[in-house]
């Protein structure tokens, strides 16, 4: 009910702080997120120090897959900032291409994570989930393979839909260089997924490593799970700006650019957390 014309500093910055409202807001929120992941990291440190033996990440997780995911996320950070640059240069088509790439890469990250998670559960799912939920799922989906398959299918669907939408946008009037680059990135992402499909690098296909297996698995699933939820949140927000939200560009272009900058700040933070998660969980 309060329109932007009434609330000051939604678009132009306030003189003494040099910030517009949403930018201050997102940095405050990121401060709280630092404390959230910090709390989990402090738990990691304490649990590791108290453990008589702590597995090396490389013995349980696949480092090539983790490295691939790290590169995917870093690339998505670049495409995110390029999306904002495109808006500053008033190029809406390029903005949609770059933001679309960001979403695509984020979906790739989640799909790879879904396969990584799935690789930890090969048999005996029953002990993991509460009885009622397990029964329902069992009846509906007939077993553990379906459990892992459902999120993979959902993500795969979104991935293909994103590629198709992107193709509609990107291949209209872009240079050959850009079209080749997009094709290459998609192909690399796809290969990465195929690799995880065959679970190359997964050395424990016959064992079961649920979160309850050890404190290492517990903190691994919790840290990457919470991070994954943040990635999902970013996908939803970026998806909104790629789709129905982009209407704001037509009548309030500066405000829309600011929103993308703020979304970008959130996204870079998500990348930042992973930059710490990857060595801590996979390499140490």
């Amino acid at each position: 009910m309060s329109s932007v014309h009434v609330l000051p500093y939604t678009v132009s910055p306030r003189q003494d702080t040099g910030l517009f409202n949403a930018k201050l807001g997102i940095w405050l929120f990121l401060g709280s997120e630092v404390m959230l992941f910090g709390g989990l990291f402090s738990a990691y440190i304490l649990l590791r120090m108290g453990a008589p033996n702590w597995p090396m990440g490389s013995t349980i997780l696949s480092i090539p897959i983790g490295t691939f995911n790290t590169i995917v996320l870093i690339t998505s950070s670049v495409t995110m900032v390029m999306a904002w640059v495109s808006l500053k240069l008033q190029e809406l088509k390029k903005f949609r291409m770059y933001l679309g790439l960001t979403i695509l890469l984020a979906l790739t990250f989640l799909m790879v994570k879904a396969f990584e998670y799935g690789a930890k559960f090969s048999i005996h799912y029953h002990e993991y989930f509460p009885a009622l939920f397990n029964l329902a799922v069992h009846r509906l989906a007939g077993g553990i393979a379906a459990m892992a398959l459902v999120p993979k299918c959902i993500l795969g669907f979104f991935f293909l839909w994103a590629v198709w939408s992107l193709a509609q946008v990107a291949f209209k009037d872009f240079s050959r260089f850009v079209r080749t680059a997009i094709l290459l990135i998609s192909v690399i992402a796809f290969i990465g997924i195929i690799l995880t499909l065959f679970e190359l690098g997964n050395r424990h296909s016959h064992h079961n490593f649920p979160p309850s297996y050890s404190t290492y698995m517990a903190i691994y699933f919790t840290l990457t799970g919470l991070h994954g939820l943040h990635v999902l949140g970013g996908i939803i927000v970026n998806g909104y700006f790629w789709g129905p939200g982009r209407r704001m560009w037509l009548d309030q272009p500066e405000r829309f650019t600011n929103r993308i900058e703020v979304a970008g700040l959130y996204w870079h933070f998500v990348d930042l957390v992973w930059i710490f998660l990857f060595p801590v969980l996979y390499l140490l």
């Binding site: 009910m1 309060s2 609330l7 000051p8 201050l24 404390m35 709390g39 402090s42 108290g50 919790t222």
Partner: protein, 579 residues
């Protein structure tokens, strides 16, 4: 933003007005009404507990039958129910009562008004934060009705007991996640609004002390809540996925070893919980200090004494509150080094509180004091908070704490601060700002009828707790210490306290009647009935959408009362010249 604009505002439908309204005053009002309901509910829980404490093992007359066989067979309270009542009383009062009222209601309604802004910086996020609170509250209430009942491991939910508890604990965790989300969204909103949307001329050192208090409170909420959210997620994993974040190896439950990996740390939960919960108690008191400051300055017709010292004390308090938390953990086996550290910081943090309290006392000196109902509550706050704060000192020192930890002394200490402390300030604020929202003053006779008995009952309810605690009566005992020989000398006080609680409940009725009747029958007043200098009184009554009919500019400090040479005893902040 002008009143013309608002006069032509079309009537909005039910959903826009009562469910999806983004106006900060409406949202603040929703927070206030919901929080008052939860405060009442939490008080009812403790009135039930007080029956069991006064008459252990005796059937509760009349209403005892309503609780069913699993909770109160033949009207006699089971220990399981007592523990649920205790845990939920704490949770509901702190997270669903005081914080939403002191921060969500008071902050939302008053901050934009006091800084000359048309609304909060993020109105839609404001709306989301209320509904997150509401949903969290509903989940908490619903937890009473699941098999096994509500959470019963204390509001502190220590592992491993909380991990092996019944389903109510899981609902507690999920409810907490919603409540934390609500607070985080609110904190971002408050901070951005106060920093970005102050009227021209309103520098930080001209802000009303209330706004400063809310500002620091928002910082505490922003940075202290997330580690508890992390811990709550981990406890949820422990409960649902059978991880061992907080479960040590070799735990036996009912003679059987638990089928978990073990390797977890019980202390980890305590550290992460108290990392929030200590700043949380400052969240409970700071807005109250803000409210009391406004009322005292206004009703003594002179500026606050030592405004700068009070502000710097607030800032210092905010910083320090993050590094004192382990004084709740002195007897967990911490070594002397770290105990000394936390003891030192705890002693240091008492200094800013004393400065603020002293400044408020000194503000009264030489004033023309008006003893209306808000002022009575505000004045009573001062010695009551003083008792509460002073009783914290032996708890903050690690050695006496060995004797006093987990006794009724602790309960007496924090209730003195929150009940005749914060709640009195919140009552004061309701009486004080009621005319701004309704255009009518509340009835003074009913106000006195509310105030005096409540003050007396508060002391009869909480002073004996300090005495029982010194005698060594432990907290969370469902028979009130009946079984212990060292407690026998103070057992009779249980009856005194219970009657004090029940009588106090009776004398809240004049308050409720006052609020409702004054809506239509209260003395009609103008826009600034108390003759106040701050910006919220410059709006129409009630403030319309967009708040101000003019673009406010601020020319002077917030407490320019009795300015020499002025013809009136108050000179508003937004008035350019002294008249």
């Amino acid at each position: 933003m002008t009143s013309d604009h608002n006069a032509h505002h079309p009537k909005v439908g039910f959903w826009r007005q009562y469910v999806f309204n983004t106006d900060h005053k409406m949202i603040g009002l929703w927070y206030g009404i919901t929080a008052l309901f939860f405060l009442f509910f939490g008080f009812c829980l403790v009135m039930l507990m007080r029956w069991q404490l006064a008459y252990p093992g005796v059937a509760l007359p009349v209403i005892g039958k309503w609780f069913g066989e699993s909770r109160m067979p033949d009207g006699v309270m089971l220990p399981e129910l007592y523990n649920q009542l205790g845990a939920m009383h704490g949770t509901i009062m702190v997270f669903m009562g005081i914080v939403p009222l002191a921060v969500g209601a008071y902050g939302n309604v008053l901050i934009p008004l006091m800084i000359g802004a048309p609304d909060m910086a993020f109105p839609k996020i404001n709306l989301a934060s209320y509904w997150a609170y509401f949903i969290g509250g509903v989940i908490m209430l619903a937890s009473f009705f699941v098999p096994g009942g509500a959470a019963a491991a204390g509001w502190t939910s220590y592992a491993p007991l909380a991990v092996i508890s019944t389903m109510g604990q899981t609902m507690w965790i999920i409810g907490m996640v919603f409540l934390i989300t609500s607070s985080l969204l609110g904190a971002v909103n408050f901070l951005t609004t106060i920093i970005q949307m102050r009227a021209p001329g309103l520098t930080f050192m001209k802000l009303p002390f209330f706004v400063w208090a809310q500002f620091i409170t928002a910082f505490l909420l922003l940075l202290a809540f997330p580690p508890l959210e992390a811990a709550a997620v981990m406890q949820l994993m422990d409960r649902v996925a059978h991880t061992s974040f907080f479960m040590p190896s070799g735990l036996m439950v009912s003679g059987q070893p638990l089928q978990i990996s073990g390797g977890g740390s019980v202390l980890l939960w305590q550290h992460l919980f108290w990392f929030l919960a200590h700043p949380e108690v400052y969240v409970l008191i700071l807005p109250a200090m803000g409210i009391v400051s406004e009322i005292i300055a206004n009703n003594s017709r002179k500026p606050l004494w030592g405004y700068k010292a009070m502000v710097f004390s607030l800032i210092f308090l905010g910083f320090m509150s993050f590094i004192v938390w382990a004084h709740h953990m002195y007897i967990t086996g911490m070594g002397t080094g770290i105990s000394s550290f936390f003891q030192a910081t705890t002693m240091i943090i008492s200094i800013p509180s004393v400065i603020i309290l002293t400044a408020l006392f000194l503000s009264l000196w030489g004033g023309s004091i008006r003893f209306n109902t808000p002022m009575l509550f505000a004045l009573a706050f001062l010695p009551m908070f003083g008792i509460g704060g002073l009783t914290g000192l032996p708890l903050g020192l690690s050695t006496p704490d060995i004797h006093l930890h987990d006794t009724y002394y602790v309960i007496g200490h924090f209730h003195y601060i929150v009940a005749p402390g914060t709640i009195f300030a919140l009552f004061a604020g309701i009486y004080y700002w009621y005319p701004k929202l309704t255009g009518r003053k509340m009835n003074e006779f009913l106000g006195h009828l509310h105030f005096w008995p409540t003050l007396v009952c508060m002391n009869f309810l909480f002073m004996p707790m300090l005495i029982q605690g010194l005698a060594g009566v432990s907290r969370r005992l469902y028979d009130g210490g009946m079984e212990y020989s060292h407690a026998q000398g103070v057992m009779h006080l249980n009856g005194v306290m219970s009657y004090a609680a029940w009588i106090m409940a009776l004398f809240q009725i004049p308050f409720i009647i006052n609020i409702l009747l004054s809506l239509k029958g209260g003395e009609k007043v103008n826009d600034n009935p108390w003759g106040s200098t701050t910006l919220e009184w410059a709006t129409a009554t009630p403030p319309p959408h967009g708040n101000f009919a003019f673009d406010p500019k601020v020319y002077r400090g917030p407490y320019e009362y009795s300015v020499p040479g002025a013809s009136v005893d108050y000179t508003p902040q937004y008035q350019e010249k002294v008249i």
